[in-house]
């Protein structure tokens, strides 16, 4: 009862802390796009513009208004949930997000989750017996994964599974039922797992090694407790804080920034491509919507991390 009250107060405070974060993120992003970003007017011009036309376009886009006014206007619109229209296509930004964010989520989620579970299992098994066969294998596997480039992995997977074996379509995205989904998501998922495995394996293994060296674990192992009990009862919990931090921080990035390389190589209409194009062309309405959305998600992810850490970690509980 008391704990519940405390955590709900905690939650409220965290959500309130989202406001300064949101202000900071939007202000920085806004400044960056306005002062250092590409001039969107130049993307909108024909083949043979005159200086007057350039001025004209800047004017119709509101590019010539003073900065504070533009930022204030943006904040007001954001508060009214009016995200505006994309400069490039004229499509309402909300429609763009509703269309693309679920796609990115469906695309990345399986690879992200499977990759982490796989890396956790391997890393724990490897750390259990340092210098064992599995440990050596993980050593090599993580160095391989870290030194291969994602683009090369994608090209190789497409050539093998799409062309040579012909099991899956090389690219594209269709959601006409679970079979379609699995078919189109399979190869990108493999690519994502392969690309992140190296880093995750290395990081997780180091964390587990650290935890396994804790006195309670060593004592438990010396007394011959069952490995599974030690793993679930202590090791996984004690390793939770750094692992959760690493994983949770990645979630908003994945939902919002998607994976540019995966999306462009596999022809998947996700939000990563949209964000990239918006950055490159200075499509401010799209960019600012993405930024606002991702900062809110960040706050949620961090709050969840803190709550979970507090619940799981046996070391901080004992303290």
């Amino acid at each position: 009862m008391k704990a519940g009250e405390r955590s709900s107060r905690f939650l409220a405070r965290r959500l309130f802390s989202a406001v300064p974060l949101l202000l900071g993120v939007t202000l920085i992003s806004f400044t960056l796009t306005v002062h250092f970003g590409p001039d969107p007017a130049w993307e909108q011009l024909g083949r043979n513009p005159t200086p007057e036309q350039i001025q004209q376009v800047r004017h119709t886009m509101g590019q010539d208004r003073p900065f504070p006014l533009r930022y204030a206007g943006y904040l007001v619109n954001l508060a009214r949930l009016d995200l505006g229209h994309s400069y490039a296509s004229g499509e309402p930004v909300l429609d763009i997000l509703l269309r693309t964010v679920p796609v990115s989520l469906l695309l990345v989620a399986p690879g992200f989750l499977l990759g982490i579970v796989l890396a956790l299992v391997l890393a724990l098994a490897a750390a259990w017996r340092p210098h064992g066969h599995l440990d050596r294998f993980c050593d090599l596997a993580s160095a391989t994964g870290m030194s291969l480039s994602l683009v090369i992995i994608v090209i190789a997977l497409q050539a093998v599974f799409g062309v040579w074996l012909d099991w899956f379509p090389v690219r594209g995205w269709r959601l006409d039922g679970p079979v379609d989904y699995l078919e189109h998501a399979a190869v990108p998922t493999m690519a994502l797992i392969a690309a992140n495995m190296g880093y995750n394996l290395r990081f997780f293994r180091a964390v587990f090694r650290d935890v396994l060296a804790d006195p309670p674990v060593r004592t438990a192992r010396a007394y011959g407790f069952r490995a599974r009990r030690i793993a679930t009862g202590y090791v996984l919990r004690a390793a939770a804080p750094p692992i959760l931090t690493r994983v949770m921080v990645a979630i908003p990035l994945i939902v919002i920034s998607g994976s540019l390389i995966i999306e462009s190589h596999f022809g998947i209409p996700g939000v990563g491509l949209v964000t990239w194009n918006a950055v490159m062309s200075g499509d401010q309405p799209v960019l600012m919507a993405v930024v606002s959305f991702s900062s809110i998600l960040f706050v949620l992810a961090l709050t969840a991390t803190d709550l979970l850490t507090g619940l799981l970690d046996p070391r901080s509980r004992s303290a």
Partner: protein, 285 residues
Amino acid sequence: MTLPKPEQPWRPAPETLSLAIVLTYLVAAAGVWSGLWGTEWAAISGELHQPPSAQHWLGTNRLGQDVLQRLLAGAATAFEVGVVVAVSTVVIGASIGGVAGFFAHGLIDGVATWLIGTIDAVPFYLFVAAVAVALRDWPGAMHLAMILSFWTLTARLVRTETMRLRHREFILAARAGGLNTFRILLRHIMPNLAPLLLVQSSLVFVAAVKAEVVLSFLGIGLQDSISWGIMIAEASQEILAGHYGNFLAASLALFGLVLSINRLTDRLQERIDPRTHASAHRKLP
């Protein structure tokens, strides 16, 4: 995509071997810095797409440039970028994260978490592209862009761990003993975080070497230079046509360096950590 495995049965590689490999890379880089080799990486010295020969040990690329020259010059770039970024990132991340974690839920922590959150929530490409424009022509722009966007994860990890450690008995004891905060952080907390920081720095090292390509295509980065990342980017265009030279050379070079750095940091971690000091694990069943 299988990489050649060592032929002899695996023995726990002595850290001297890893050290020797890293030193070899360093020598290669030093040779480039002092102008002994790798200076002709941009020269077009032969026909295009030649297989390895006496003149071009690793063959030539699409333009007829020598792959070996580019590989060597790339080693120098890897150190220039990787080491600088990894060290700065971890130092900055550890300091800010440590202080924030130690004073968790206070004002300093509030400001620090705000800053970390803000930087993390700004899309990476936007951030980096903007730094590129703001600091155009300044040679350190790329390093700065990477450090500014990479330090936050380290800071988060350090903050979380510090928060956990600060209530431990030995810290409380040190506090009671009148040690000031700075000394506690440096003497008692950081050594406990060393394993984490070492691994983190090796991860950042690799990430920086790989991110260099992305940044050089965003308009910053070492414009007048060659890196393994660029070689791999070039390779990705021609690999389907059966030209593997660039890809194999750069990827294997990166693999060798990553593997030995990983090994070295692992050994170092075992040495520093008082609990694993005597290879205690091996005595366990």
